[in-house]
Symmetry: D3
Subunit: 341 residues, 6 copies
Amino acid sequence: MFDVVTLGEAMLRLSPPDFLRLEQTDKFDCRPGGAELNVAVACARLGLKSCWASRLPNHALGWMIRNKAREHGVSDEGIVWGGSGERVGVYYMEFGASPRASKVLYDRGGAAVTRLKPGDVDWDKLFDGSRHFHTTGITPALSESCAAVTREAMEAAKRHGLSVSYDLNYRSKLWKPDVACAMQEPLMELVDILITTEEDTKVVFGIEAEGGDSETFTSVDAASYGQVAKKLADRFGFSTVAITLRENPSVWFNSWSAIAYHEGQFLTDVKRDVEIVDRVGGGDSFAGGFIYGLLTGDVSYGLRFGNAFSAIKHSIPGDFAWITRDEVEAVMSGAGLRVQR
Amino acid sequence: MFDVVTLGEAMLRLSPPDFLRLEQTDKFDCRPGGAELNVAVACARLGLKSCWASRLPNHALGWMIRNKAREHGVSDEGIVWGGSGERVGVYYMEFGASPRASKVLYDRGGAAVTRLKPGDVDWDKLFDGSRHFHTTGITPALSESCAAVTREAMEAAKRHGLSVSYDLNYRSKLWKPDVACAMQEPLMELVDILITTEEDTKVVFGIEAEGGDSETFTSVDAASYGQVAKKLADRFGFSTVAITLRENPSVWFNSWSAIAYHEGQFLTDVKRDVEIVDRVGGGDSFAGGFIYGLLTGDVSYGLRFGNAFSAIKHSIPGDFAWITRDEVEAVMSGAGLRVQR
Amino acid sequence: MFDVVTLGEAMLRLSPPDFLRLEQTDKFDCRPGGAELNVAVACARLGLKSCWASRLPNHALGWMIRNKAREHGVSDEGIVWGGSGERVGVYYMEFGASPRASKVLYDRGGAAVTRLKPGDVDWDKLFDGSRHFHTTGITPALSESCAAVTREAMEAAKRHGLSVSYDLNYRSKLWKPDVACAMQEPLMELVDILITTEEDTKVVFGIEAEGGDSETFTSVDAASYGQVAKKLADRFGFSTVAITLRENPSVWFNSWSAIAYHEGQFLTDVKRDVEIVDRVGGGDSFAGGFIYGLLTGDVSYGLRFGNAFSAIKHSIPGDFAWITRDEVEAVMSGAGLRVQR
Amino acid sequence: MFDVVTLGEAMLRLSPPDFLRLEQTDKFDCRPGGAELNVAVACARLGLKSCWASRLPNHALGWMIRNKAREHGVSDEGIVWGGSGERVGVYYMEFGASPRASKVLYDRGGAAVTRLKPGDVDWDKLFDGSRHFHTTGITPALSESCAAVTREAMEAAKRHGLSVSYDLNYRSKLWKPDVACAMQEPLMELVDILITTEEDTKVVFGIEAEGGDSETFTSVDAASYGQVAKKLADRFGFSTVAITLRENPSVWFNSWSAIAYHEGQFLTDVKRDVEIVDRVGGGDSFAGGFIYGLLTGDVSYGLRFGNAFSAIKHSIPGDFAWITRDEVEAVMSGAGLRVQR
Amino acid sequence: MFDVVTLGEAMLRLSPPDFLRLEQTDKFDCRPGGAELNVAVACARLGLKSCWASRLPNHALGWMIRNKAREHGVSDEGIVWGGSGERVGVYYMEFGASPRASKVLYDRGGAAVTRLKPGDVDWDKLFDGSRHFHTTGITPALSESCAAVTREAMEAAKRHGLSVSYDLNYRSKLWKPDVACAMQEPLMELVDILITTEEDTKVVFGIEAEGGDSETFTSVDAASYGQVAKKLADRFGFSTVAITLRENPSVWFNSWSAIAYHEGQFLTDVKRDVEIVDRVGGGDSFAGGFIYGLLTGDVSYGLRFGNAFSAIKHSIPGDFAWITRDEVEAVMSGAGLRVQR
Amino acid sequence: MFDVVTLGEAMLRLSPPDFLRLEQTDKFDCRPGGAELNVAVACARLGLKSCWASRLPNHALGWMIRNKAREHGVSDEGIVWGGSGERVGVYYMEFGASPRASKVLYDRGGAAVTRLKPGDVDWDKLFDGSRHFHTTGITPALSESCAAVTREAMEAAKRHGLSVSYDLNYRSKLWKPDVACAMQEPLMELVDILITTEEDTKVVFGIEAEGGDSETFTSVDAASYGQVAKKLADRFGFSTVAITLRENPSVWFNSWSAIAYHEGQFLTDVKRDVEIVDRVGGGDSFAGGFIYGLLTGDVSYGLRFGNAFSAIKHSIPGDFAWITRDEVEAVMSGAGLRVQR
C-alpha cells in the first residue's frame, strides 16, 4: 500500500531567531521534526506514498505534528493516539556562528511515544503491499517498549517482504555507546541498508575511518570511509551501506558528500559546498533521497540523488526538506547559482 | 534579612502571538512565570527585599528563569541547582476572544522542582531576620517531596516569627479536590493570611458564595464572598482572608475587585474595569500587592493597593507585574485614562 | 467515498499585521482561503471525510494551497493542476477599527481556477459513494467555464444521490446583481439547502427582511429573516434555508446568530457575542458546521452547531476554523470565559 | 504656491509593540511624527499642496523624517539642514489598556530644530502665492529662537495674506502654564483660527467648561464647550474656534466629537465611537481635516470633515492619517462597519 | 526640467523572510521595485532631479508604489492613473543559499502598466529641458502598447535632445530570444548608451564572450567582455557600452565588476567582493550610478562610480539603493570594513 | 566586597533588524550596552562578584538598564539615580555587509551620566574589600565632571589596594586625539593594566605597529604589536599591556587574536576565525575575559581565556557576552563545530 513506512518520534523544535542564545531569547520559532518523520516527508515530497508510525498525545501539539506530516502528503494511518494529558518531546535548537557551534538541548523524556508498545500499530495493515521500511537508532533508545516495537516492526517488514533501512543516529543523551551497541547489534540482521555518518559507526560499533580529523572534522577522507562501509557490510551482512561525509571548516559553510558500498562496489559522489541555513535534518534528507533513488533507480542514482537532495536541505529552515524532484535534478546536472527568474 | 520569601515552581510560558491557536502557531513568545515567583517579583518591584526559593536545572533555561528573577531584584539565594539533564516545566498559553476562552496546556511533569526535598533549602539562613513567607497550593501539589518542603518551610517560617500567607491556587491537573483538601487542611493551621478566589474555596474546601453566577462568573457578588471569607477564617483560624472577584462578561473586558475579612471586619474596594492584555498572574499580583500593603500599612491599605496593582497587571504582557508604586497610587487616587505626557 | 465534496477557488490572503493600512504596510501575513475550501476544511476538522475540487497552478503557491488543505485532512484528489506559468488569486485584507471598516482588495482575475472546464474533474469518481456536495455563488461567477463546471458538478451530484448545499456568497466585484440572478436562478432547482446572509438574498433575488437596519446592520431582526427564508424556500423549493445574522455595533464587537427554515418550521438559536479577531470565513464556517450538524444530526442540531462553531471562528486568525468538536459542544452547553487550565 | 504651510518639530516615535511596557521591551516600532508635520501630511493626502518647515540634522534620521514627509507629497522646501552631529528628538510611546493609560516619555531636548532661528527659513518664498499657515503651541515652547521664528512666520504669513491657524497643544514638559500663557498671548492677535482641546484652554488661558468631568473626562459636554469657544473668540478676536471633545470611558474605546464657534454661531457634529488603535495624532488630524474643509468649503463642512477624518485616524498606527477623501466622505454619509469587498 | 526620466513597470516584491522557501512561508516582506524605478530612485538619491513614468491602478497598492518613489524624491508627474479595479504586478522572491539559487516567481500578467498606450504620457512636458532618458528591455516586452510607448518615448527623447540609455534586461518569462531580438533591434538606433550583463547580450543578440564559464558564471573574464562591448557598439552604433560582470562562487558571496567601451576605448575597474544581503536591483543600481557619473563626470568616472555604488547595493534589503554619494566616494577611495563610529 | 568594579556609561543600542539601513528601518532591536557595563556583565557571568557604577535617569529606560545589569548578577549598588526628566544616551547601530561597513550613529549628548560628579559614588564602600577596578577612555571623555570622577575612582582604587585596568577605547565623536592624549596621560600612572586595540594606541599616543595594513586592517601582524605593547609599558610603566588584533577581510568574517606584554615577556595566542553576528562588545568581552583570567590565574591564562571568550562574543547578538566558563574552556581546548547535542 505504501512505498515507504517509517517509525519514530517527532518533537517540537523550538529555536531562538537571529542567532540569539537560548538563555537570551524571548521568542521561539516552532517547527516539528524527527528523524523518521523527516524521511517520510522527504519521500512523500518526492512522489512516493509514505506513512509515518508513531504515538502522539491527543491535544493541540499532537495534532500540530500530525497536521505537518499531512501537509506534505504523509499518511497519518500509522499514528497511535495517547491521552490528552501526555506530552510531546521538545528540543531547543540554538544556531551558532564560528567559533560557537550550534547546540541542541533535549527535553524529550516521558513523551507520548515512549509508551508505544508492541501491538499498538497494525503493521500487517501498514505493510500489506508496501515496499520499504525505515527507522533509526533513536527509536529503540527511547524506551524499552519502543525497542520492542522497533524489533516488532522490522520483523513484520521482513515477513511482508519489505526492504529495511536503518540509520544509526546515535544520541548520547539517550543511551551509552555500549548499550547502543548491545541493543542494536541483534537488530542489524534484519537490516538491508545501513545509513550512517562518519561519527556514529565509530561510537556505536567501534569501526572508524583512517585519516581525516576525527575530532573536529574540518576535513574528511572519502576513501577511508569506503573501508568503514565495507567493514560494516562484512560484519553485519548489509547489502548496502551509505555514509554521509561532512566537513565543517566553519559553522556557516560546510562541504558535504556521501559514499556507498554495495555488493563489493565503492561509489562516491561530488563534494558539495553548502551555505548553512539549517543543517538539522541534513542526514535524514540524505536517507530520504537515497531511499527514493533506490526505489526508483539504483544505488548509484540513490547516492547522487541523496547527496544533492540533502545538500539543498542545508539551505532550508526546519527539519523538513521542502524540495522538489526537479530542483534536485537541476543541482545534479550542475545548475548555477544565478537568480532563477 | 528579607521582607518576603516565597517558595514554588517557575515555568516557561510559551504563547502564540496575535491570538493564534496553539495548533496553528509556528512562533512562541517565551516568558518565565510561576505563582510564587510572580509574588516575589511584585514585592521586589515595590521596594521590598524579596527572595524566591525553588529548584532549577543547570542549563540555559534554568539560568533564564534565574536571570528574570534577578532582573527585578529578586534574590537568587533560595535557588537550589539540579543537574544539566533535568527540565523546566512549560505551559502553553493560548489567548482567546469571546466566545473562545483563553486556554492553558501544561507540560510541567517531572520538572526539576519536583525533586526538591526537605533539607535542600537552608530556611534558617533565608528566614533569619525576615518578615513574611508566601507560598501557594501549587507547591504541595507538585510532588510528595514538594509537599514536605512546603510544610518544612512553613514550620521554619513560624519558628523564625514570620507571618505566613497562602494562596489556594487550585490546579485541577495536579490533583483532585479531595486530595487537595486532605493535603492542605493540615497546613492551614500554619497560615495567617489566606488569599484565594471565588472559585477555589468552593472546589477545595466546599465553601461557596450564595448568589452570583458560580458557573460562568459573568457577575459576582461581593457581599456573599464576605461570608465565604468569614467562614474560612472561622474554620481555619486565619487572621485575614482576602478574595479576588472577577466578572468576565467577555474575554477582553473584565471587572475586577477584591474583598477582605480581618478580625471580624469586612472590607471591600471599588470594582475596576480592566481591558485584558494578559490576565495570567492577575491573582498573584493581587497577592504581591496585598502583602506589600500589609507590610507597609494595614489590611485596608493592602486590599486597596492589591486591587489597584492587580487591575493594572491585566494590561501587561507576561506573568510579571511591571508596575511602579507611583502608578498604583495614581490609579488608587482616580487617575484618568488620557495619554500621560 | 467522501462525506462532503466542495468546489471553488482558493486564494492567498495577504493581510498587513497590527491594523496597518494596506497603503502603509511593508509586511504581510499570508494565509490561503476560499469559501468552499474553508467549508471542506471545517468538515474535515469535525471528522467528516472531505474533498475539495479546484484548479491550481503547478508552482510553489499552488502547492502551498494544496498543502494547507491536506494539513487539515482534506483530500487533494479533486485538484486539477494547471501549468507553472499560471497564477493563484490574491486578496489583500485590511483589518479595521471603528469607524473604519475592514476592507478587502481583490486581485483574483485570471487565476488558474478560471480555466477549469467541464470534463476536468472526474465527478463520477469523487461522488461515488459520497454524501454531500457544496459550492457557493462565487464559483459560477469566476468565468463562463467555471459556471459550466458548477452546473456539471451539481448535476453529477444529483445523479449520484448527494444532497446539495449552496451559499449565495454574492461578490459585487465579480458580477452585477442582475447577472448573478440570471445565472443562478437555473441552478437553484438543483439545490436542497440554501445558506445565505441577510444581505445577499436582497441583492441577488430581491428578497429582503422587514425591520432592522438594512444599511448598516447595527441591529438585525431574526423573525423577519424567518420570512425571508420561507420566501426563498417557497420560490425555489429548497428543503432547507439557513441565514446567518450579524449585528455590528462596532468593528471589534459583533453579535452573531442564525435562523433556519425547514419544511414549514422556523428555527432560531441564541445570539452570541463575538470579539472579532478575524471575521473572514465566518459565514463559511457556519456552512461547514451546519452541514456537519445535518449529516450527523438534524437541522436543529445543525443550526445550533453551525452557530456556535462560526461564533468561535471569529476569534481565530485566518479563513480556516481551527476548532474541535469538543470546543463547539462546550460553547453550546454554556461554557464560561475563564481561562481553561 | 502652497495651499498650506506648517512649521514645527518632527520626532521619531519609538513604541514597544503588543502593549509591552517601555521598561520591558526589546523592540521598538519607529515612526516619525510631530503635530505640524502631521497636519501637513493630512493636507497633502487630501489633495492640497502642502509644505512643512523645520530644521533637521544631516544624517540618516533626519533624512528618514524628510523622506516620510515626501512619501505623502509634502514639499521638503521648508526644511533647513543642520549638521551631521545634531540630533532628532525621540519620544517613547507606551500603549495602555484600562486602567493603565497610554504614556509618552519625551527625549526631545537639544534637537536640531531648537536651533532654528529667524532668517533660516525663506518665508517670502514659501508664502508667495500661498493660502494658509498653521503651527501649534509646541513650536514656541521648543526654544527662545523657535519662539522668535514662530512670530516671524506668523507675521510673514499675515503680510502675504495667508490665514493663520494655531493649535494650543500645551506640553507640560516644555513649559509651565504661566509661561505658556505669557508667551502665547501676544501671538494670538496674529491667529485667525484657534484649534484646541477641552484640556488645554483651561490650563493655558484659564478658560474652562462647566459640567462634565474635567479630571478624568469620562464624559464631556458639548454645549458648555461652545461657551469656552465663544469666550476664546471674544477675548482674542479669533474668527473661528474649534474644540475637539474626547470621552474616554476606557483606553481602547473613546467617543470623539468637535464643536466650532464662528462669527457668533455655534456648530456641533455627531459624536463618533472610536476603537483605539493609535490615538496619537488624533487632534492633529482634526486640524488637518478642518483646514482642508475650510479651504475647500466652509466652517460647517470643515467641522464635519475634520471630525470624521480624525475619528478614522484613531484606527491607524502612527501619527499620520493614512486616509483618503473618499473614505472620509463615506464615514460622513453613514457607511456601515461591514467588511468592504 | 529633469536630469533623468525613466519609463517602466514597478511591482510589489513579496519575499519570505529568513530564507524560508516560498511554499513554506506565512509571512512576506513587501517592497516595491522595478528596473526603471530603481534607476530613477538611484539618480534622485544621488542628487539628480528624476522622474519615473508608468501607469498604476488607483488603489492602495498603486499609491504605495507612488509613495515609495516620492519618498526618495522621484517626481510622480510621469505617472498615469488607471482604474481602481486594475492590478499591480507582483513578484515573489525566494532567497537561497548554496547550492540553492535564489528564485523569482513572477505574477505580473495584466498589470495596469500593460495598458499604457501612446499618448498617455505627456513626453513633451516631461522632456522639456531634461537631459537623459532611460528604459530597459522589460518595458517593450510587457505588451504591444508598451512597446509602442517605448518607441514613442525614445523618439521624443531624441527630439528633445536627451541622451538615451537602455538596459537589455532580458526576461525569459516575457518573450522568447528571437522576439526580443526582432523587437529591440529597431530600437537600438535610438540608443546612445547600452548597459547590459554578460548573459543578456548572448541570449538576445547572440554576441557572447570567449572564456569564462558561461553556464554557471563561477568566474568571468573582463577582457573578453570588452570584445563583447566593442561588437555591440560596432553593430548598433552605441557611443558607449557598459557591461556588469558577476562571479558567483556561492550564493552569499559574489565578486562584482563592470567594464565599458567608449569611442574605441576599453575601461575596466576593480573587482569588488560583495556579501549578498539582496542582489536584486544590483544591475539597476549600476545603471543609476553609471548615468549619474556620466552626467556629472565622464565614462570613466561613471564606470567607477557605478561599480562601487552597485557593489554597496548588494548589502541592502529591497530593490532600491539606499546609499549616499559620500558612501560611494568612501568605497571608491578604499575605505576599510571596520565599524564606523 | 567585589571582585571587579567598573565605571562608565550605558546606552540603549537601537539597531535595525535584517541588515536594513538606518534611513530605511521602521523597527529597532533595543539592547542596553556600554563598554564598562559590558565588562561588569562578563565578569559576573564568569562567576566574579561585580559591580557597575554609573548615573541613570529615574524612569523606565534607566530602570531597563539597571534591570539588564542585574539580570546577569551585576550589583546595582554603584548606580546613582538622576531625575525623571533626564535622558539615557542612545546609539543607532547599522549592520553592514561587504563592502558596506557597519556603522554607529551616536546620540549620547547630555545623558544623565554626564552629570555624575565627584562625591556622588561612595567609592570607599564599593572598594572596601574589593580586588579590581576597570574603566575605559570613554568615561573621562563624557564630561569634565566625568573626567574628575574617573580620576577620583582610580585614586580611591589605588588607596584601597585594587589593581586597575584601563581600556583606551578612543571615541572620535567625543574628543580629538590631542585632547584625549592630554587628558589621559596623567591618568596612566594610576593604571596597572592597559587593554587596547591596534588602532587606538596609534591615534591617542602616536604609538603604532610596523607592517600590516594600518588603514583597512585586512591583515595585522602580531609581532609588531608586541613592540607596541612594550613601548606602552615602557612609557607609562604598566605591569601588563594587552592588545586585541582584528583582521577584517570581510564584514561577516574576521580573524581575531590578542597579544600581551607582561614584565618583559611577550605572549601570543592563536588566531581565531569568527563569523560575525555582532561584533560590538568584542573588545569589552576581551577585557572581561582577560580580567577574569588574571584574577583566577595569570596573564597567560588571561590572554588565552580573553581571546577565546571574545571570539565567541562575536557570534552573540547584543553588547553582552552571554557565554559560560565551560563554553570558553571548550573552545580553548579545541572543540569542533559540529552541532552539540
